[in-house]
Symmetry: C2
Subunit: 334 residues, 2 copies
Amino acid sequence: MPDPAAQALAGDPPVLAGDPQALAGDPRALAGDPRALARLVSLAENAAPGLRPVMRALAPFTGRGWVIGLTGPPGVGKSTVTAALVAAFRERGQRVAVLAVDPTSPFTGGALLGDRVRMQEHATDPGVFIRSMATRGHLGGLSAAAPQALRILDAAGFGVILVETVGVGQAEVEIAGLADTTLVLAAPGTGDAIQAAKAGILEVADIFVVNKSDQPGAQEAVRDLRTMIAMARRGEGDWKPPIVTTTATTGEGIADLTARLDAHWSWLASSGERDRRRLARARAEITALAVAALAVRMGGLPNGTGLDSLAARVAAGELDPFSAADELVAAASV
Amino acid sequence: MPDPAAQALAGDPPVLAGDPQALAGDPRALAGDPRALARLVSLAENAAPGLRPVMRALAPFTGRGWVIGLTGPPGVGKSTVTAALVAAFRERGQRVAVLAVDPTSPFTGGALLGDRVRMQEHATDPGVFIRSMATRGHLGGLSAAAPQALRILDAAGFGVILVETVGVGQAEVEIAGLADTTLVLAAPGTGDAIQAAKAGILEVADIFVVNKSDQPGAQEAVRDLRTMIAMARRGEGDWKPPIVTTTATTGEGIADLTARLDAHWSWLASSGERDRRRLARARAEITALAVAALAVRMGGLPNGTGLDSLAARVAAGELDPFSAADELVAAASV
């Protein structure tokens, strides 16, 4: 019988390999073991076969962490605000994980992920875990990988999990669906508010942050946002998104921001909205995985009933897409 | 037996109501009947129950039109370029349809759809059909509605169908998947090229258009794009996206643009890429419809196997999402 300690010293203790039984003990040990944690997140990122038993082992430890999403157009200072929030939560003694989701273009690789330099001050803090995750522009990939990565960080015992998204548009709306609280960032003088409205990301905001508030145009940006907030329909007891101005490079406004975050967290609990959001998140997650499983099954059907031959008939005008979908569903359900 | 002419005068001839049998005669008559056509497109937009028999009747008439997608950030002049292209194709005697897809925000309604004034010169031309379609930020809605609307316009006999998308990011990438030829527009001095790279839309471009080329920074924009094109990996015989500079308000560069478009259309045919793209499009369309059908079925499962109770168990940490998805698929496949 191998000595567990010797096994650990041999360089691959069970927890590092993502051994489900080891994890089922107390996955919170992962928070102190960044290498093991990084490996598990990679399992999620690559949708590796080993992911399923790991998620099964971790399930009972999930649902504790506070997921805060940060979103907004490039250049708005997302990394700087994230770093400032990490520092603020660390001062309270909370463990903080940062997941940066990057809808990478094949043209550029990860090079546009941005200036991560502000984050480096936290890189040596054992209470902080920082990870980038590439999604390569596939919404399906994002839907599948990001929620599992968040579950892993949650089970690992991080009290606060910051999800920062680069890019604009639908990917951000999707990421916002994963968060308990979503911050939408804008910078002065850029028309960010208008852009956000066009991309449909304004309505996902729980808190607006006008960063770089020392630059000209900050008051106009606040005013634009206030107008847009006033235009939104809200019911009795609904959360009204506040606007916070920050200069994250100096720390200006960060205390106000954390106070607003705490207020939203309290409201989530007292209104029942936290449970509603988490249920909705679980529904979306299950559906995405079920749909992925069915899509795999559909792609692997025998000739004649398979997707390729149906597609050829639709392209040739022999069949309409609805009838083709019916045939596909019937074939997949046998 | 009712007299067809009298029926037509009564205000609701079969073709106007989208009667499948009437359509199966010759749907190309629709091109001369904008009211009838508008009704059919509304069926697609609303995913109305009457859509299925219509699509069945139209299937044999599809596959003829050339779908050209125009995409790029707001303010780049998409409407102006679209209007200039409409004029150019009309001069050749081709019938042209324009579908403007708008990822509308609930905050703003359709107000941000933009300046459609340039399009009004074509509004009275019976060879031109112009239609906006709202998608309300739902990718599912866009996936389902836009391809069906394109099929309707194609069956109606429009030789050229221009699809213009407002907004940035994933929705545009998705729309590009519907087109035979995709134009990506940029304006000088805005960093559009960089933004496009971040949003992952550069790689869908068949032709780059730097519009407003009379403004400062046009040459820099061309240079930025050239650098990014050079960075992309391409195989032997692959299409290399050209960069065209236009000032659509004066018509400058539009002749060059149509020449490039024609060259791409020829390449699509000679390389076999047109058939490949259309097959891929049919596959995506069928899968989206099949998945939507399965999602409806999953939502309607009896308690205990249904999505809601699975989601509650996942949110409570009693079940992991993969096992929940397995249960859902098993229940949906019975």
